[in-house]
Amino acid sequence: MCAQPVPNTTEIRWQKVLYERQPFPDNYVDQRFLEELRKNIHARKYQYWAVVFESSVVIQQLCSVCVFGVIWWYMDEGLLAPHWLLGTGLALSLTGYVLFDLLDGGEGRRKSGRTRWADLKSALVFITFTYGFSPVLKTLTESVSTDTIYAMSVFMLLGHLIFFDYGANAAIVSSTLSLNMAIFASVCLASRLPRTLHAFIMVTFAIQIFALWPMLQKKLKACTPRCYVGVTLLFAFSALGGLLSISAVGATLFALLLVSISCLCPFYLIRLQLFKENIHGPWDEAEIKEDLSRFLS
C-alpha cells in the first residue's frame, strides 16, 4: 500500500498518536490506514418475496383510486343506480366493521376504549350531515368549468397517493393530508353527478374506500397475511375488470403499472442494493442515543 521507506529498525511501529514525535515522514501511510473503515453497517438485506408482499400496500391504494374512478364513471353515465351502490356499500361496511373486531378478538377496541355507541353516533352524525349538505355539494362547483374539476380531482388523487402512509418513516408522509385530498377530489367529482342523491352516495363511498378500507387492510395485513394477499389479488382483479369494461387500453396500462410496482421494482431494489456503499468510521458525528428530555421534565 505504501511506497515510503520504512526506517530500518523493525521494532519501531507506527502509532496512531499525535503527541509523540515518530521517525516517519508526515505523509507516511501505514498498513493500518483506514482499518477502522466500516461499510454498510446499517444496510438491510431484503428478501424478494418479502418486498413483493410489502408492495401490496401500494397496489391496494392504486386499486382503491381506480375503483373509485370506475364507480364514479358508471354513476355519471347513469349505468349504476345510486340505491344499489348505497346498499352494497352499507353491507360491505357492516361486514368490515364486524371483521375489524373479530380479527384481533377485540384487542384494539379495548385498548382504544371506544364504545360501539360512539361508533354509531359518529356514523349517524356523518351520514346526517352529508345528506343534509348534499344539495349544497351538488351546486357548490357549478360556476367552475368541468375541465378544471377533472384536473383538480386528478391532482388531488395523485396527492393522495403521494402522501399516503404506506408504512415508511419519511417526512413527506401525512395521512391527514392524504385523506383530505381524496375527500376533496370526491367532493369535486360528486358535484358533477346528475342528482343530489348521487352526490351524497359518492361522498359516502369515498369515505368508505379512502378512510375505512385502509384501516381494515392494515389490520388484515398484521393478523392474517395470507388472507391479505388473497384480498389484494381479488381487489386488484376487480379493479382491472372494472377498468376493462370502460377502456381496454386503460386496463392494459394499469395492469402493466401494477405488475411493474409489485414485481419489477422489488427486483431493482434488491439489485441496486449491491451498489450500496455507505461509509462509516471514527470521523462520524456521534449520535446521542439516550432520551435527555427526562432531565427537564
Binding site: 498518536v17 503527541y19 483506514l34 462509516h280 470521523w283 446521542i288 435527555l292 432531565f295
Partner: protein, 484 residues
C-alpha cells in the same frame, strides 16, 4: 509603525533576516518561500482556524519566509493591515454569504486575487478550512495562474446526508489537482482522503499546537471544592445536550461538586433550564456558573480554577481545548470521537462513550482519583504536555511540505483538464473543466488589460528582504492578538 520603505537601505542578501533576538533558532539552509495564506476565517473572528493561521504565519516569518494573509473584510476592518512582526493582512471587500463564508462564483475574486498574487510575488498558496469558499476560490485561481497550492483541512465531515454528498464532491474537485494537503489528525486524514478520493501520499498530518506559555497552571487559584470546567461553544455538535444530563446526575450525587461553564451558543438555554429546575444557583451557593462568551486570553484564568476538564464534543478533528486544559494541569475527561484519542496519552485523559452514563462514570473515576490523591500535580502535567505541541514544530513540518511542493510541477492546463475529467466523474468533471477553461480565458483577458509587468511590486514586510523592524523583540508576546 515600524515600517521603513525600500530604497538602498535594505538588508543585504547575506543579512537576510531580522536582527536575531534571543532564543530564535533558524538557519539559512532551507530555501525561503513567498507564502499567501487564504481563508475566510481570520481575526477579528475567533476560533481554531484563525489562531492556527496566525500562529503558523508568525512562526514561518520567524523562520525567514515571507507570509501574507488574505481574508474578507470584517465590518469596518478592510484594506491592508499589519499585525505583529509585519504580518500583512489583506481584508478584501467580498460579500459574506453565510457563517462568515463568502459567496463563490469561481470568477469574481480572480481580478483581486491575481493582483495580490502578482504584487506580492507569491509562490505558494496555502488555503485553510473546507468551509471557506474563498479558500477554494484561491486554490482554483492559483492553479490557473500556475502557482503551487497547499490546503489544510481543519474539520471532519460525514458521508450520510445530501449536503455532505454535495460538499464532498466540491472538495474532490478542489483537491484533485492541489499539490499537497495537510490534515490536523490521522482520523482527519482518513476522512479527507475518503471524501476527496485522494492519494494518501500527498496528505500530511501536522497537528495543531498550543502555546504552552499561555496555559500555565496556578494551583493557588483552584477552588476548595471539586470543580469541573467546561469551555466550548454551547451548540449541538459540542454535546451541550449531554451536559444537561450530566450536571443534575452528578450534582445530586456529590454535594461538594461545582461546575464552571464558559462559552455562548443557542444551547445555553437548556443549561439555564437545568440550573433552574434543580436549583443549582441559590444565592448562598452557586453550583453551576455560566460565564457566557470568553475571550481567548481569559480562557486560562477560567481553566486554572478547576480540577477536571470536561469535553462532550460529538465530533472533533483535533481538540485544542483538551490540550489547553491539560497544559493548565487539569485532568481531562472527554468523549471518544474523531481525532481525540490521538491527542493526549492515556494517563492524561479519561475517554468515554458519548452518553450521559459513560461520561458520568468517567467523571466519577476522575473525582475518586482526585480525592485519593493519585493524580499527578498540575505542574507535572504541564511539564509533560508542553513538549507535545508547539507552533515552532508545526511551522518546521509545514516548511517541509512547502519545500516538497516547491520541487513539484504545477499541472499545465491540458493535464489539469484531463485530471478534472478523469477524477471527478463524467458530469462534474466536465462542468469544472469548462469552468477552468473560462477561468483561464478570463485570466488571459486580465493579463491583456493589465500586464503583470505593469502591476506594482509590493515592498516585502517579511521574508528575506523584509523591511519590517521589530521594535519590541520579545516583550510584546502577551499582546500578540492586538492589531492596529
Amino acid at each position: 509603525m515600524a515600517y521603513r520603505g525600500g530604497g538602498g537601505r535594505r538588508h543585504g542578501p547575506s543579512a537576510a533576516f531580522h536582527p536575531v533576538s534571543p532564543g530564535r533558532l533558524f538557519t539559512c539552509r532551507t530555501p525561503t518561500h513567498n507564502i499567501c495564506m487564504v481563508s475566510d476565517f481570520f481575526y477579528p473572528n475567533m476560533g481554531g482556524v484563525e489562531s492556527h493561521i496566525y500562529q503558523l504565519s508568525q512562526c514561518l516569518i520567524e523562520r525567514g519566509h515571507k507570509v501574507i494573509i488574505v481574508t474578507h473584510a470584517y465590518g469596518n476592518r478592510k484594506g491592508i493591515r499589519y499585525l505583529t512582526k509585519g504580518l500583512k493582512v489583506y481584508y478584501l471587500p467580498l460579500k459574506v454569504m453565510y457563517n462568515q463564508s463568502t459567496a463563490t462564483t469561481l470568477f469574481h475574486s480572480l481580478p483581486l486575487l491575481r493582483y495580490i498574487f502578482v504584487r506580492e510575488r507569491v509562490t505558494i498558496i496555502h488555503s485553510h478550512s473546507s468551509f471557506s469558499a474563498m479558500a477554494h476560490d484561491a486554490l482554483f485561481h492559483a492553479k490557473t495562474m500556475g502557482l503551487r497550492t497547499v490546503f489544510t483541512d481543519h474539520s471532519l465531515f460525514g458521508f450520510a446526508d445530501v449536503s455532505s454528498v454535495l460538499t464532498n464532491k466540491l472538495l474532490t474537485v478542489s483537491l484533485c489537482d492541489t499539490n499537497h494537503i495537510i490534515c490536523v489528525s490521522y482520523t482527519s486524514k482518513e476522512n479527507t482522503v475518503l471524501r476527496a478520493a485522494l492519494n494518501p501520499e500527498i496528505v500530511s498530518v501536522i497537528p495543531n499546537a498550543v502555546d504552552p506559555t499561555d496555559f500555565t497552571p496556578d494551583p493557588f487559584r483552584r477552588h476548595d471544592s471539586i470543580t469541573i470546567v467546561i469551555v466550548s461553544r454551547l451548540v449541538y455538535r459540542k454535546g451541550t445536550d449531554l451536559l444537561s444530563g450530566i450536571i443534575p446526575e452528578l450534582c445530586q450525587k456529590y454535594q461538594d461538586l461545582n461546575f464552571i461553564i464558559g462559552g455562548e451558543g443557542p444551547k445555553r438555554i437548556i443549561l439555564e433550564e437545568v440550573r433552574e429546575r434543580y436549583q443549582l444557583h441559590d444565592s448562598s451557593k452557586i453550583r453551576v456558573r455560566l460565564l457566557g462568551a470568553l475571550e481567548h486570553k481569559d480562557v486560562r484564568n477560567v481553566l486554572v480554577q478547576g480540577h477536571i476538564f470536561l469535553n462532550t464534543s460529538l465530533t472533533e478533528a483535533f481538540c485544542m481545548a483538551i490540550v489547553e486544559a491539560a497544559s493548565c494541569g487539569l485532568q481531562v475527561v472527554s468523549t471518544r470521537v474523531g481525532g481525540i484519542p490521538e491527542v493526549l496519552p492515556e494517563n492524561l485523559i479519561i475517554l468515554c462513550e458519548p452518553s450521559v452514563k459513560s461520561l458520568c462514570e468517567g467523571l466519577e473515576k476522575a473525582i475518586s482519583q482526585l480525592k485519593s490523591g493519585v493524580l499527578p500535580a498540575p505542574e507535572k502535567i504541564h511539564n509533560i504536555v508542553k513538549t507535545f505541541y508547539t507552533w515552532r514544530n508545526v511551522a518546521e513540518r509545514t516548511e517541509k511540505v512547502y519545500n516538497r511542493v516547491a520541487g513539484e510541477t504545477v499541472l499545465p492546463m491540458d493535464k489539469r483538464l484531463e485530471r478534472l475529467m478523469s477524477h471527478c466523474g463524467p458530469v462534474t468533471g466536465c462542468i469544472f473543466a469548462l469552468l477552468a477553461v473560462f477561468n483561464f480565458l478570463f485570466l488571459t483577458f486580465l493579463r491583456w488589460m493589465t500586464p503583470d509587468s505593469l502591476i506594482d511590486v509590493a515592498i516585502d514586510a517579511t521574508g528575506p528582504k523584509g523591511a519590517w523592524i521589530n521594535q519590541y523583540p520579545y516583550s510584546r508576546k502577551r499582546g500578540r492578538n492586538k492589531t492596529r
